[in-house]
Each structure stands twice: as structure tokens, then as C-alpha cells.
């Protein structure tokens, strides 16, 4: 099977669909029309650029370039994540960077070597998309998880101080907040796994089927994508939480004021 190509003209025809939401958003005076057009424009440009450099990454298929790409992407992911939760880049960058690095590296090695049994771990065709999908998921769940932890521990400082004051170690006093942040970050993913295939067909599956793979192979990939995404995200959130508290809390177990950006 060969994938039906989309010409630039037909892509333009497809993009005209955006006029429908633009009309609706404008009719109801939501004030979102300009933002929507900017977002669509950015998405198109960004994806064309990604397509452009992915072409070269696949063509070169070079170990060092792939590693450099991963390290840069982890940096971009970590910086973005810290910026979104309004924590200090200076304090958080190193713990978040290495947490993301460790969890992505572990899962990528496990999947590409242990499950796909690839000879070349850094084969661009597999390595780049898998790292990309993992980083995207790590970013979204870490934003929710870290944000839930730091906002609840600063909002419910009285409870945290009560536990510390009554003899709990820093780890023991932070346990309820870690628990809550994991629930917030991963409840949606657990619910989504439960209905996968029933009320939703994920993008990766559809992409593979359109790309010419058989549904049987696509399904197996989709199952693995769900599992590696979930495991990588939970590892990354937990490691970055447990690691970052060493930098964001003082030796008395109190949250440092300079952990947040004003």
C-alpha cells in the first residue's frame, strides 16, 4: 500500500476548513479569532520546519547528530516546563533536565532494544519519533504534576508545616502532596487507556494505518506507545519531583521563597 500524498494545493484546500471555526468564533465574539489564526500559522510553519529537519536527520542517520538532537530537545522541553509552572529556571533546570533525560533514556533503550530488538538503537527512523512522542507526553504530564505539587504545597502550607512540626521528615510531610500531584497528572491518562479503541482512535494508530501498516501491527505499536508514554511520564514526574525538592526546600524542610519567579 502506498500513502496518498497531499499536494501543497490540496493542503491549502484542507486548511480552508479553518474558516468554519473562525466564522463561529467571530460570530459569538469570543475574541479568539486572531489567536486561532496565529496558532494555525505557527503550527504550519513549525511542522514544515520539523519536516525539513527530520528529512535531514533520517538521511544522515548519524549517532552523534541524533544524540545532540535529543539533548537539545530535552533542554527545550525542560525550559518550557519550568516556565509554564512559574518556577525558577536557575534552581529547577538541572533537576528537571536530568529527570527527563534519565526517564526518556531508560524507556527508549527498553523499548527499542528489548521490544523492537533493533540492532541500531539510534536508528533515526525509530529513535527520533519515539523520543519526540515521549518528550511531548513528559512535558504535558510534568506541567500538571509539578504544578499540582508546588501550588498545593504553597497553598496548604499550614498542613505541610503541621506535619513537619509534629516530627515528620521532609519526605513524609511531602507524601500527601506527591500523591495528589500523581493523581492529578495521571488520572486522565489512566481513564483514556481504559476507553482506548472504544471511543477514541489515537493519532499514532491512524497515522500508521494511513502510512500503509496493517491494523494488526499498528495496534501493537499503539499499545506499546501508550505503555511507554505512561511509564516515561510517571518516571519523569516522580524523579523531577523528588529531585527538585532538594533544591527548592531548605535544610529545615521549608519551601524557599526564591523557588518561584514573581
Amino acid at each position: 500500500m502506498q500513502t496518498q500524498a497531499i499536494t501543497l494545493f490540496h493542503l491549502f484546500i484542507g486548511l480552508l476548513l479553518i474558516l468554519i471555526p473562525a466564522y463561529i468564533l467571530n460570530y459569538y465574539k469570543t475574541g479568539l479569532v486572531k489567536d486561532m489564526f496565529i496558532s494555525v500559522f505557527r503550527m504550519v510553519i513549525q511542522l514544515f520546519l520539523v519536516g525539513f529537519y527530520l528529512n535531514y536527520l533520517f538521511e544522515w542517520n548519524n549517532l552523534w547528530i541524533n544524540i545532540a538532537w535529543t539533548l537539545i530537545m530535552i533542554g527545550v522541553c525542560s525550559g518550557n516546563l519550568i516556565k509554564r509552572i512559574k518556577l525558577s529556571q536557575k534552581i529547577m533546570f538541572i533537576p528537571v533536565y536530568f529527570s527527563v533525560f534519565v526517564s526518556v533514556a531508560l524507556i527508549v533503550i527498553y523499548f527499542l532494544k528489548g521490544v523492537l530488538c533493533l540492532d541500531d538503537l539510534f536508528d533515526s527512523r525509530y529513535y527520533i519519533p519515539i523520543c519526540g512522542i515521549l518528550l511531548g507526553n513528559v512535558l504535558s504530564s510534568s506541567v500538571i504534576g509539578l504544578n499540582a505539587f508546588y501550588s498545593s504545597i504553597s497553598r496548604e502550607q499550614q498542613m505541610y508545616h503541621y506535619l513537619l512540626g509534629n516530627g515528620a521528615t521532609q519526605t513524609e510531610a511531602q507524601m500527601p502532596f506527591v500523591r495528589q500531584s500523581l493523581i492529578k497528572a495521571f488520572n486522565p491518562a489512566i481513564a483514556s487507556m481504559a476507553v482506548m479503541g472504544l471511543i477514541s482512535l489515537p493519532g499514532t494508530l491512524i497515522g500508521q494505518i494511513i502510512g500503509g501498516s496493517s491494523p494488526e501491527i499498528s495496534i501493537r505499536y499503539q499499545i506499546m506507545i501508550m505503555v511507554i508514554n505512561f511509564s516515561c511520564s510517571i518516571l519523569s514526574v516522580l524523579i523531577s519531583l523528588l529531585w527538585s525538592v532538594r533544591y527548592t526546600f531548605d535544610s529545615y524542610g521549608i519551601l524557599k521563597k526564591n523557588a518561584f519567579v514573581s
Binding site: E156, Q158, M159, H161, Y162, L163, L164, G165, N166, G167, A168, T169, E172, P176, D250, S251, Y252, G253, I254
Partner: protein, 207 residues
């Protein structure tokens, strides 16, 4: 037992407490009184190292409050704040969970002792099975006092212990506090309660 030596606290360039010195002896019951903003809560929190002084020295159980000894110091303390939302759904959990903490692992949860304490503190036995959200502030404070006794702590820090209870229960609680051999440091605006303590310390607001 608790010693403040020339302690000062400064927040946002404003001195809240300056040159505060005090010595609370073992088993002494002391009530700290003073107007709002005088630094009463700050002083209480500094005993547990939740706030560090900007000058002076605090010693608890013979150890200076520094990060090196903070866990050991906190292991001797039971703190009952006026208002706190606990991370437990049921009263049962709130009473049993502290026994799992590393610091309390040598202590055993004794249900009989707990029910005896409930009786002394005018708490109904059924409260043990209730949800935390279904109990009043006064009940919560008394539960936490019972817990402090069960955990055999050396120091009990109370913040407005009589503010959320009726006069009959207050009498019972005061009588109970008198019987326990513990160093008690309380913040209160309640003069009848303060008068039952061994000593009243007045803290004046710096203007």
C-alpha cells in the same frame, strides 16, 4: 526545656520581635499572651524550626534549633495549631497515621488508652469512625491533644486551645492539661485558661 536567648525576627525590613529572652522549664505550663501581630505565632513556630530567627539562639531539649538537630527536636514536640486542614479523610487515619512516622515508630497505638483520653476530653467514642470534615474545630483540637499524649511527647504547643469549645468542655480540658506531665507552651487570649497555667508571658507589639 525551651530557651530563647536574645531572639529577633524581622519580616520585610520590619522588626517583629527584638531581643526576646525566655526560659521555659521542664513540665512548666506557660501561656503566651499579646496583641495580634506581636509575634506570638512566630515564636511558637521558631521552636519547631519552621521560622528561623534573624538573631539570637533558641534551644529545645538541650539542643540548639539548627538544621542538624531539627528532626531530633521535632520528635519531642506535638503542635496543635488553631486551624489546620489535615491530609486524612477519616479521624481514625489522623490518629493512627502519626504512629507510622519514623520518629514515632517506637510508640504503639493503644486503642484503650485513646478511648480513655476521649472520655476525659469529652469526646464521644463514635468520633473515631467519623470523617474529618464532619468534626468541629474544637473536636479536632482535642483529638490532637489526645494524640500528643498517646505519642508521649515532651512538649505540647497549643495555639488558642479553648477558642472553639464551650465552657463546660473548656473546664474539662483545663483540668486534663493540669494532670499531664508535659511542658506546655500555649498561645491564648483566654484569661481563665491563662490563669490556670504556671506562668503568663506577655508579648508587646513593637511600634
Amino acid at each position: 526545656m525551651i530557651k530563647f536567648e536574645n531572639v529577633s525576627f524581622v519580616f520585610d525590613d520590619k522588626t517583629i520581635v527584638s531581643g526576646y529572652s525566655e526560659h521555659i522549664k521542664e513540665s512548666e505550663h506557660v501561656c503566651l499572651m499579646g496583641e495580634s501581630g506581636a509575634g506570638k505565632s512566630t515564636i511558637m513556630k521558631s521552636i519547631m524550626g519552621l521560622i528561623q530567627p534573624d538573631g539570637g539562639k533558641i534551644t529545645v531539649c538541650g539542643k540548639e534549633v539548627t538544621h542538624a538537630d531539627i528532626l531530633s527536636i521535632r520528635s519531642h514536640i506535638a503542635w496543635v495549631p488553631q486551624e489546620v486542614h489535615l491530609p486524612y479523610e477519616f479521624v481514625k487515619e489522623a490518629l493512627e497515621a502519626p504512629f507510622v512516622l519514623k520518629v514515632n515508630q517506637s510508640r504503639r497505638f493503644d486503642k484503650d488508652q485513646m478511648f480513655q483520653l476521649f472520655e476525659t476530653l469529652s469526646l464521644d467514642k463514635s468520633i473515631y469512625e467519623r470523617r474529618m470534615q464532619d468534626i468541629s474545630g474544637g473536636e479536632r483540637q482535642r483529638l490532637m491533644i489526645a494524640l500528643a499524649v498517646m505519642l508521649d511527647k515532651k512538649i505540647l504547643l497549643l495555639d488558642e486551645p479553648t477558642s472553639a469549645i464551650d465552657s463546660e468542655t473548656r473546664e474539662k480540658m483545663i483540668a486534663f492539661l493540669k494532670t499531664i506531665n508535659i511542658t506546655l507552651f500555649a498561645i491564648s487570649h483566654d484569661m481563665p485558661f491563662a490563669l490556670t497555667c504556671d506562668r503568663i508571658i506577655r508579648l508587646n507589639k513593637i511600634r
